[in-house]
Amino acid sequence: MRAEIVEATEFPDLARRFNVYAVPKTVINGTHEFVGALPEPHFVAAVARAVGGEGDEGEVVGGDATPGAEGESTPLDPGRNHE
């Protein structure tokens, strides 16, 4: 497992490639993503979905929040990364 924390404004090419308009935004294997801070069980489920491939709904363990609910996020400065 590799985990990178990326300063979105300092790496605009990466931010553009993954359409980062608000932070925190998490991209998994370059294909799956979510915005905001997820409760841990849903974070794990999102990772499982990405690795398990399309159609696998994954498994939420130990949590009772609504699956797919997005956490709080902060919009990036408008005008940045819009090209």
């Binding site: 497992m1 924390i5 990326v6 979105a8 932070v23 935004k25 370059g30 069980p41 794990v44 398990g52």
Partner: protein, 150 residues
Amino acid sequence: MPFLNPQDAETIRRRFASDLEAPVRLLLFLPATGGLALPGEDWEIAEYTRRILTEVAALSDKVTLEEYGLLSHAAAASRYGIEQVPAIVFLAGHDYGVRYLGMPAGYEFVTLLEVIIAVSRGRAELAEPSRAALARLPGEVHLQVFVTPT
């Protein structure tokens, strides 16, 4: 002027003293030297990053900072998968695959400290069901978490 005021430095010094276990190497990859600025490289951000890490490394004997040039240490950059700078690799004997791209300032300074401590202790604050679920994953995982300092 130092990045950390004396009170913050003392707080971090105590936190490191109580929480760090294994020695941590911070590998900081920097832009090319010698006045050669490549497109997209921001020397000012890299220099601030270097100063922040220098001050943090001074707060514990268990934290050391090593500086590498992206081009002058191309083999090391390749080994740790570094393609853009500034970038920080966190090692504590084992390479847990944690990288920080950019300057860890503002709220993200706390992230820097937490990563150093987690790598030093060799474990993350994850619940047991999460560990079990992650251990069952069939393939490699590459997480990229985009943040801003504010």
